[in-house]
Amino acid sequence: MSIKLTLHTPTDVPLEAHCINPNTVKALSQSGVEHLEVIHGNQTARLGDFFTVKGKGHETIHIEGDTSNVKYLGAGMTQGEIIIDGNVGMHLGCGMSGGKIIVKGNADDWVGPEMSGGQITIKGNAGHMVGSAYRGQSTGILGGEIYVHGNVKNEAGNSMRRGLIAIGGSAGDFTGVNLLAGSVIVCGEIGARAGAGMKRGTIVSFCDAEMLPTFEYACTYHPVFLRFYLKHLQDHGFDIDDRYINGRYDRWSGDSIELNRGEVLIFNR
């Protein structure tokens, strides 16, 4: 059983809907959910002005309609589940610490900023700054898992401190830039300057990548821990060929302009 929200009035002006998270709606009546406050451009409005609400008292929220202009879905959630049938706007799961978000379409920029726990799954593509620190902040996500089955744009995992970002397709430039710790796994192509400024943490690429000159080749080996991660990704529906699980990886250490304890693992063909 779930609470069903159906977008009945699409809008060109972005809608900020921090209120759509299980923590908030679980305790409310149907009418209470409809009267939750949203921000439409620079105006305050009611959730019911845009969404039809059905059901009450559940920890699962099912969202239908094209919500690609709806921001902050699942912001601050600590429990429960949000299932989004279509596309979703920016700042999905901002600050979430628990629960699950599943997007069946694409997600815009800033998936999971300030996240510290929980799980976000994007079945399609995602924009820039997946699991990244907001501009001006020194630390990105502190935990949790972000699974993007498609492609992502630039700066995935910027300044990430803990957690896992898995990308089934390709990633743009500056993947894992300023990484503090945690893991970013890219199953497709990885853009330029991966790991620039990273201190610790792991970036994995199944495809060749040009390393920055401040990274040092260490060895080609079988990273056992990666087998564990890749099996974990298979369990989450990623199509991981056995050759990546059993294969050898080139280990590059860096970034030497920083702590130099990070690693980029590139599948050795």
């Binding site: 935990g143 898992e145 803990r162 957690g163 896992l164 893991s183 610790r200 792991t202 060895c219 080996y221 079988h222 990273p223 056992v224 821990f225 087998r227 564990f228 991660y229 099996k231 974990h232 699980i245």
Partner: protein, 296 residues
Amino acid sequence: MKINKTEIVDTFAEAFKMWGSRVIITADTLGWARAAAQSMTGFATSVIRCKCEAAVECEIAREDTPDGRPGISVLLFTMAKDNMSARLVDRIGQCVMTCPTTACYNGLSSEETVPVGGRLRYFGDGYQISKKVGDRKLWRIPVMEGEFVVDDSFGVQPAVGGGNLLIYGTNRSTTLRASLAAADAMKEISGVFLPFPQGVVRSGSKVGSKYKGLIASTNDEYCPTLRGFAPKTQIPDGIEAVYEIVIDGLDEDSVAEAMRRGMHTAAEKGAAIISAGNYGGDLGKYHFHLNQILKG
């Protein structure tokens, strides 16, 4: 009570509360995983002198292990929960981490855990790396072939130690054959292990000794060579050998099931009498009555 011609003595095995852990060892080949497991479970027959009891539980197919490689499951029990971390750290550190290609994972889901990788990580001398996936935290410790991967903590749970059967026979070879067959049948039960060599003990012990400082000594009541003069001999006429099978398990039901299978198999293979050891019932928390087990 009898199973065919085998007499089942109306008595019970007295067993104790212990703490159990399950260690999953994986490696590039089953051979290396087995080598590590055999090393780790060496000198772990009895808490009396070995500080823990341990043995291989079973082989695990590669599709069922955390990293997709062939694995071996090891059960390791201690008398106190507080001792478990030290025993695991010692044995995993010396016997598994040292063994080529291996990794080591917790195999027990339990609310109570003890640190293992979190202590072994110091071997990495600052170069170790932690990784967290879901609720699972791993340590990667650099070693000369690459990395040793070990779970940060291992689950522990209350367990049963010291279930036992005494197998009597009319000669040594028949008795040993029956005991070994019984032990092999008992090892098939999940969550159970037999800590002694091949599962069979010839030097059963009693509590205490005439010599000061010894906490255990030979169980003279069951030594056939002493039948002529031992004051409380338990060796009937016609019996020439007795073997003990000690059973440890993660819960009472699995120990009882192992004992049931063991009794049936031993009887089938020619055991004359099957009994069990106890201390009058005052020491151990668990009492496994042979007749009740057979009646189901």
